[in-house]
Symmetry: C2
Subunit: 311 residues, 2 copies
Amino acid sequence: MGAREVGLPTRSVPLESFYPQRVTIWEVGARDGLQNEKSIVPVATKLEFLGRLADAGLTTLEATSFVHPKWVPQLADAEELLAGLERRPGVDYPVLVPNERGLDRALAAGVGHIAIFASATESFAKRNLNRTLDEQFEMFEPVVTRALAEGLRVRGYISMCFGDQWEGDVEPEQVHRVGERLLDMGCWQISLGDTIGVATPGLVEDVIAGFDEIDRLAVHFHDTYGQALANTLTALRCGVSTVDSSAGGLGGCPYAESATGNLATEDLVWALEGMGIEHGVDLDALARTSAWMAEQLGRPSPSRVVQALTG
Amino acid sequence: MGAREVGLPTRSVPLESFYPQRVTIWEVGARDGLQNEKSIVPVATKLEFLGRLADAGLTTLEATSFVHPKWVPQLADAEELLAGLERRPGVDYPVLVPNERGLDRALAAGVGHIAIFASATESFAKRNLNRTLDEQFEMFEPVVTRALAEGLRVRGYISMCFGDQWEGDVEPEQVHRVGERLLDMGCWQISLGDTIGVATPGLVEDVIAGFDEIDRLAVHFHDTYGQALANTLTALRCGVSTVDSSAGGLGGCPYAESATGNLATEDLVWALEGMGIEHGVDLDALARTSAWMAEQLGRPSPSRVVQALTG
């Protein structure tokens, strides 16, 4: 029965030693989640959502995006949202910025933390950014340089790190090259995205192990094939301690087929809580918030925990 | 950023070494799945389901149960099903047997492999079996003795191994005591069930590590809180190589609140395939089978993979 020949590591080394003591949750529901809803959510509802997420203990709330409103009408209210946002002490509100025009808007809105988004593959760079893999860096360079000069922090997202629906497999080395360029450029952290949700734990370890500075990585898994939590826990075991997730499992990516469903923050918190890893979140308050948002959107939350706790 | 102080084990030891090379899937959809449907599925549909599961490459198909029809009317057709079953070479068709009366029926039907079901907790023993924790063994003893004398193989299920909704936490030592008694009694394998779906990976490791013969364990996780696949992969990493799952995520337990959703076989196969672990299943054929069964039941499959591949 089975062919395991290596001893269980947790018998000589406590399980906890393989995981971080604390995980930082980068909550993307208000941006990545609402960006992908068909309906346009009123700004007042978004502000209530962000307030309730902060009440539930989340400390990094990706608030909105300065992508052109033509491409993402759901977030066309970015200025109005940020003007109305009651910034809580200890809570960070990063926003997505695609280019210099977006940076102008972010600076005018008083944003202190931005995220740029890159592709790991030629195909998705072309489709999402209308640039080649190399040309994307020409777009990022002036954004990052100016943002850093203005005292902002810059995070780098990388899409399609574990597979691409046009190219199939993505070589881990290609992800490393894109990631190292973003880190060298001045991004304080990069988030490795499984945009189409195809990754499994072996590949997750391969991609992460190739980076020199694992403490500068975050992971962003989609649950398209039910693998998001297993992949995330694998990443934690590799030393990653920042995880992107979306309250109630809101969101996906409109330009990638079947990229439905971010990892639900509630499902992640259930795992962290059970494993004794600090997370700072009030799970019941968060699940109630997601159930409330699901009502606003007129459809049930795909999060198993939200269904179980509030169904 | 995080407090990991132990080196990534896969850097010195290949990842594959921590997992079995091959996993045996114990498919419970026809029994655990259909047992929990409100509608009673016609025997012809069940036979087609079992035939299609075998076509998809599954080699252990839990076929039905000899529980009293009053308790599980969905499986009242056990005799008719087994009489009509076209047994494929290389495919095993175990059936559930609760007591001596059930064994009589199983023997009369020509069954070669039975499974008994025990509880890890007093509360669930009382509710599911109407017996104390100790008294359940008095019920099993004559069943197992006679089954073994008749040349049958006997598997032991244990419910509530990771938590119980009436008792809360369940001590791993209690699970070990129940499990060791079943193994000593002659069960060739025991399946550790997370009947209410509350387990997380740390607890999974604790429970499994306490057993002397890990190669005689199987695991049976429910996805109530989205943890089933992460827990299953943790069990594999501990040396377990038999996994219970349900095609399309059918099933749960009618006597345990919110015990909805077995691990979907498709979501498991996606992970195994990606990790290079042998499983023998044709994923597309299986997903089509689950989509077909969902149609028969008039509701969508909860499996993410079934939704993604057939939606």
